[in-house]
Symmetry: C2
Subunit: 225 residues, 2 copies
DNA sequence: CCGTCGGTTCGGCGCGGACCGAAGCGTTCC
DNA sequence: GGAACGCTTCGGTCCGCGCCGAACCGACGG
């Protein structure tokens, strides 16, 4: 009974469309300023300020003051996983009403970042490739040889769980999260193998990325989609 | 952006302490009548009626009208898993303020049902036993020999995933859910190996259960708690 | 030093929703 | 048939909160 009080409070934090929009924006894993988020959600700066304070004190976001800026970011991968899990549960999004929204939805389904790792069809392609190489098991645990494979890409294990599953809300299938998923995503971004589309969470595999993935044995033909 | 609208709506369903209390009660996996839930949450029947309608139309609950009764239950295991995941996230419950609440919390931590399977220390003990027998892997997937072992206990595979992990909010470690977890819980209840405490979700291992678990090789000494 | 800018605080408005009691409806029991 | 029961619908009240604009504060820049 006491635990449900906490549940209601957590849910209340996400029960507002403006705060939910903030969280969705922050799912790109970067830190945003208060003003950016306000503009993104189309609310007054004062309104955004109050929402951010609630999200921070609720533990969903962390803030980082720097000069006259207030940067906020998701408090950690666990928040991203909760958000993806809830979005997956909330079910297939209603079909978009405008052409603009439809193309944005398609871009997100094709590939996106989920906080610090890859999601969407791109994430599933990556998972399939890693599975084929024996880097991860079907449950997305990293294997012994998989660890060596990752080390060659500059990965070093940390306290954080190496491989874990994160439910993909467009594909309805888990993709690779955890330290390994985050590292791979970082490497791909560094090498220019994937690139963000505009300022959104959506990403695409670049031509260099297609070559790179083929050479690593992650794909045979170019990923299409 | 459209997906977050759905998230906010889902969150709004759980953002009320009365509705959250309903869901918690229903986590025992049984169907409750509207009046029972109203009394449980200490609200007027009319209030409960409106809440239930919202939860049902939101897809969290299913209802089953029978005569003058309205039975409601969680819409499925996925709802239970969402609730447990969110409760786990919401963090350690604030320490209970009354002796009564403290003893209830202790009972829940010792053992409880999580919709249709076992949770709490009892659930973790079960998982450890199954792991020791090689019935499940560390990721809680059912092994080949494990399936035979389950069949001997009357289990037959279905469309539902056989073994899956469900995060335990008191133990902070996953326990066994899915068809296998549900079947085992059902068998234990049938055989009188576990017993509900009062009308709550809390369960205890009976003396017969301790013998049964030992004979199955799930435990060596009696489970204590 | 003053203007601009990012952010916060405060007062006030308006909506949504949580709650109850009363009344109504269909079912069940006597 | 009548009473009791389980539940729902409807008014009505009240509170929380999402929103804004205005005023304010501190940081930065010329």
């Amino acid at each position: 009974m006491a635990g449900m009080e906490a549940l209601a409070q957590l849910a209340a934090l996400l029960a507002d469309r403006t705060r939910a929009a903030f969280c969705e924006a922050l799912l790109d894993g970067r830190a945003w300023t208060a003003t950016e988020l306000a503009a993104h959600a189309r609310v007054a700066p004062s309104t955004a300020s109050e929402h951010l304070s609630r999200l921070v004190s609720g533990g969903l976001l962390v803030e980082h003051r720097q000069g006259r800026h207030r940067y906020v970011a998701l408090a950690g991968p666990h928040v991203a996983e909760l958000l993806e899990a809830m979005t997956a549960f909330a079910g297939p999004a209603p079909r978009p009403r405008t052409l603009r929204a439809a193309s944005a939805a398609r871009a997100l389904a094709r590939g996106r970042t989920c906080y610090d790792h890859l999601a969407g069809r791109l994430g599933i392609t990556l998972k399939a490739g890693l599975l084929g190489l024996g880097v991860v098991t079907g449950e997305l645990a990293v294997t012994e040889p998989g660890l060596s494979w990752l080390r060659e890409l500059g990965f070093t294990p940390s306290r954080r769980q190496t491989g874990r599953a994160c439910l993909d809300w467009t594909e309805r299938v888990p993709h690779l999260a955890g330290a390994a998923g985050a590292h791979l995503c970082g490497v791909f971004l560094e090498r220019g193998w994937i690139k963000r589309i505009g300022t959104t969470r959506a990403v695409v595999l670049t031509p260099a990325g297609e070559r790179g993935w083929r050479e690593l044995g992650l794909t045979r033909a170019a990923a299409s989609g």
